[in-house]
């Protein structure tokens, strides 16, 4: 795998957008890895939470938009509470989801959910809030 940095990631528009939506300076992450080590969902993720920040710091938003991680994030805030530099990781994950959702992109199609009749209504509501515009 190879990634070419085309321009200063600080100047990347989509990185700027994520910073704007989340209100977090993603460049203050210094890669200690505490978010990933404590994340209850990390074992199901394709990109670890700390790597999300490394991708952002390198201006590689495409990888993140195609990754499962932001959608697997349960927004439990364990990472946010633990981050030594006080980053709200859950907000950054939300911002990445937002970037995708604002393109009118449905991560989940409710009609394709099996046994949706059986699901508790609150699960469906949560699903709409998180996975659809």
């Amino acid at each position: 795998m190879k990634y070419t940095i085309k321009k200063d990631p600080h100047e990347d528009e989509r990185v700027q957008k994520i910073i704007e939506i989340s209100g977090q300076n993603i460049f203050s992450c210094y890669q200690c890895g505490r978010c990933s080590s404590g994340c209850p969902m990390a074992e199901f993720m394709d990109v670890l939470p700390n790597q999300v920040f490394m991708f952002l710091q390198e201006g590689d938003v495409d990888t993140l938009l195609n990754a499962k991680t932001p959608w697997i994030c349960a927004a439990c805030f364990t990472c946010t509470v633990r981050c030594p530099v006080g980053l709200d990781l859950a907000a950054v994950m939300e911002a990445i989801r937002e970037l995708q959702l604002r393109k009118n992109y449905d991560y989940v199609d409710p009609y394709k959910v099996e046994d949706r009749e059986e699901l508790p209504p609150i699960a469906m509501v949560s699903n709409f809030r998180k996975f659809t515009p």
């Binding site: 795998m1 190879k2 990634y3 070419t4 940095i5 321009k7 200063d8 990631p9 600080h10 100047e11 300076n25 460049f27 203050s28 210094y30 890669q31 990109v47 700390n50 790597q51 490394m54 991708f55 710091q57 390198e58 590689d60 530099v85």
Partner: protein, 668 residues
């Protein structure tokens, strides 16, 4: 007369010794000896009650010798000797049997063998002790002057501190100005002070101090003598200018037609052939570089017979023509001066590996430079006035890559150690680039960020959070030219992929090494150094300023690469050591020295050849060896080489040593 009433004290050292060695059994076994009057154990012999036990026992049992079985004599020999001396026993009648490092620690798995070995070690020590003589320390007079080699920040601090205490100090600097590497820097981490601003007051203090004698553009040629009494020859290199007359006006620099690379700007700029090291040089004096001066080269060739001058030929003397005080004489004014001093501080500093040593990282390209060179480009006083420009075309770079650990932490291609300051200065340089050119993209390739100092980690976070420096974790593998740019190929080990970026300039944080001149100076002073040119201290933790040669101390980066804070602290520390040494009218010296029996000595001179301290001479009249007690360190090299045992180290006589070995080897 052999001792008959020996006291043996066996230390438990907590569980260090007693956990393996059966100390009670050892005490019983040793107590059976006829020459042992008293044998006991105690939990910590080095504690105050432990020392009291020695004092009381010496008096109570009228002991004429003491063996303390504990740790290495480097740690507590002095403690135990002092304890015995307080009870009136000559301290040289106390010997240490090292049963911790020699018996308890290496044989933890076999307590019985450790106990037997401890008994044997103590028996051998008793045999050696029995022939010990009572000795008195030797007194040596002291010259109350100090020499500091190296005029960097550590050397200047040391010289100022010593001079402030009223001791005359000589400061020798090989370059044409004092200030050292610190004076080359742009700004200092983590406070972003301007080094020129904070260092010039110190430099002026050095120049103006009534107790400091300053020799710049000079080198130590030869060192003779010993602690308290060194004779030093200093070579004042040829400047071809009379410094007593030179006012440092700089008129000559404006007319000189010949040029060479500037030493101060580390090849980042040219200077004229007659030059002043830098605008704030102390002393502010001009000197001529023999290798580039048109006139001096001409005269040299004429002298060598390579060219024959035509009559009435007018050879360049532009500088001398404009020199109002008539200071420029073109005469080789190299001179050797002699100084006598009592103590020496070596503060020769460091150098960095050249970029050319790393061709794979682009060291062959003009725009790939070392961090120290980049300091000059960032310095407001530097050739580019603080806005970095590419050495190749003078273009202001729009993107710069910094590479950490170039040669450092790389035993295969560089040095095995961490060069310690690179992380911080690279972060600082990245910040300064952002200061100078806000829109420049800065990439920082690191393996680890090592920010272990006051305010350092916060400094790193500032670079990350506020300055917009891009940090990428992974070593760069290669740098090559693509069009006008340099392609840096690295890796991001955090996301696990190769990373490529095109930049205008690459700065390599190359490994630091000891000054290239340090080896010669170390040889002259007979102090040890390692393969990277760092001077070796006596003990890394507890004697970091001392060397094995009495009266010679080390300070600053000469010992190992360190930042300004640590260099200044060490300079002051070494100064305190020198002041303590020179505050006494006479020095006491261990009397464990070589002694010649003139009845036996044949004057063959083999001992003289072996002596590393030049302590032995052959008396021309009696034709026997004579030992200079002030120079002798008691190493025993002479004794081992003497064919007739005429020269022996006191209290390490052949009979004593052989007897001890017999006991250790159980040859009874």
């Amino acid at each position: 007369m052999a001792m008959k009433r020996i006291g043996v004290f066996i230390c438990h050292c907590g569980r260090n010794i007693a956990g393996t060695v059966d100390v009670k059994r050892v005490a019983e076994e040793i107590g059976k000896r006829e020459d042992v009057a008293f044998s006991t154990t105690y939990v910590f012999m080095c504690s105050q009650p432990g020392q009291k036990l020695i004092e009381d026992s010496v008096k109570k049992y009228n002991l004429d010798g003491v063996v303390v079985a504990n740790c290495s004599p480097t740690l507590h020999e002095k403690t135990m000797r002092n304890a015995a001396a307080r009870a009136g026993l000559n301290p040289y009648r106390v010997e240490i049997a090292n049963i911790r490092e020699w018996a308890a620690w290496p044989h933890e798995d076999n307590p019985d063998a450790a106990t037997r070995k401890a008994i044997r070690i103590i028996n051998a020590t008793i045999e050696k002790l029995k022939a010990n003589a009572s000795l008195e320390p030797i007194e040596v007079p002291v010259i109350r002057r100090a020499l500091v080699i190296g005029g960097g920040v550590a050397g200047m601090q040391a010289a100022l501190d010593i001079a402030d205490s009223g001791i005359e100090t000589i400061l020798v600097e090989k370059e044409a100005t004092i200030g050292g590497n610190m004076f080359r820097l742009s700004e200092t981490f983590p406070t972003l002070d301007c080094p020129q601003c904070i260092l010039t007051p110190k430099m002026n203090d050095v120049a103006a101090h009534p107790n400091i004698k300053l020799y710049t553009y000079s080198e130590v040629e030869d060192v003779e003598g010993f602690m308290g009494n060194f004779k030093v020859k200093i070579k004042k290199k040829a400047t071809f200018v009379d410094w007593d007359k030179c006012t440092g006006c700089g008129e000559c620099l404006r007319v000189c037609p010949a040029h060479a690379d500037s030493e101060f700007d580390l090849k980042m700029a040219k200077r004229t052939s007659i030059y002043i090291a830098n605008e704030q040089a102390v002393p502010l004096k001009a000197l001529i570089d023999e290798n580039s001066c048109i006139r001096l080269q001409f005269e040299k060739k004429v002298k060598e017979g390579k060219i024959k001058p035509k009559k009435n030929v007018k050879i360049c003397s532009k500088c001398a023509d404009v020199c109002e005080p008539n200071a420029i004489h073109f005469q080789n004014n190299e001179e050797i001066v002699e100084e006598e001093v009592g103590a020496i501080i070596v503060a020769t500093g460091y150098e960095v590996m050249p970029a050319e040593a790393f061709p794979e990282l682009g060291g062959k390209y003009p725009d790939v430079i070392t961090s120290l060179q980049f300091e000059r480009l960032l310095a407001p006083s530097g050739p580019t006035a603080g806005i970095p420009r590419r050495p190749s075309d003078g273009k202001v770079p729009e993107s710069i890559a910094f590479v950490h650990c170039v040669g450092s932490r790389d035993p295969q291609n560089g040095v095995p150690y961490c060069s310690r300051i690179c992380c911080m200065y690279t972060i600082k340089q990245a910040m300064l680039v952002k200061h100078a050119m806000h829109d420049a993209a800065v990439y920082d390739f690191y393996i680890d960020i090592r920010s272990n100092g006051k305010g350092y980690e916060e400094f790193y976070h500032r670079a990350k959070e506020e300055y917009g420096v891009n940090f990428i974790r992974g070593k760069v593998s290669k740098v090559y030219k693509v069009g006008d740019k340099y392609r840096v190929q690295g890796v991001d080990t955090l996301t696990g992929r190769i990373v490529e970026v095109d930049v205008d300039m690459v700065v390599l944080a190359t490994a630091a090494k000891g000054s290239s001149t340090v080896k010669e100076i170390a040889k002259k002073l007979r102090i040890p150094y390692d393969e990277w040119g760092w001077l070796k201290e006596t003990h890394l933790k507890l004697k970091p300023l001392e060397t094995p040669v009495g009266g010679v101390f080390i300070a600053g980066a000469a010992q190992f690469i360190k930042d300004i804070t640590d260099s200044v602290s060490q300079g002051s520390g070494a100064a305190a050591k020198v002041m303590a040494l020179l505050s006494k009218p006479e020095l006491e010296k261990e009397p464990l020295l070589a002694k010649v029996d003139p009845e036996i000595c044949a004057g063959c001179g083999r001992c003289k050849d072996q002596c590393a301290y030049d302590a032995i001479t052959i008396d021309p009249v009696r034709h026997v060896s004579v030992v200079n007690e002030a120079l002798c360190e008691g190493c025993g090299a002479c004794s081992a080489n003497c064919p007739t045992t005429a020269i022996q180290v006191v209290n390490f006589k052949k009979g004593q040593v052989v007897r001890a070995i017999d006991v250790l080897a159980e040859v009874f």
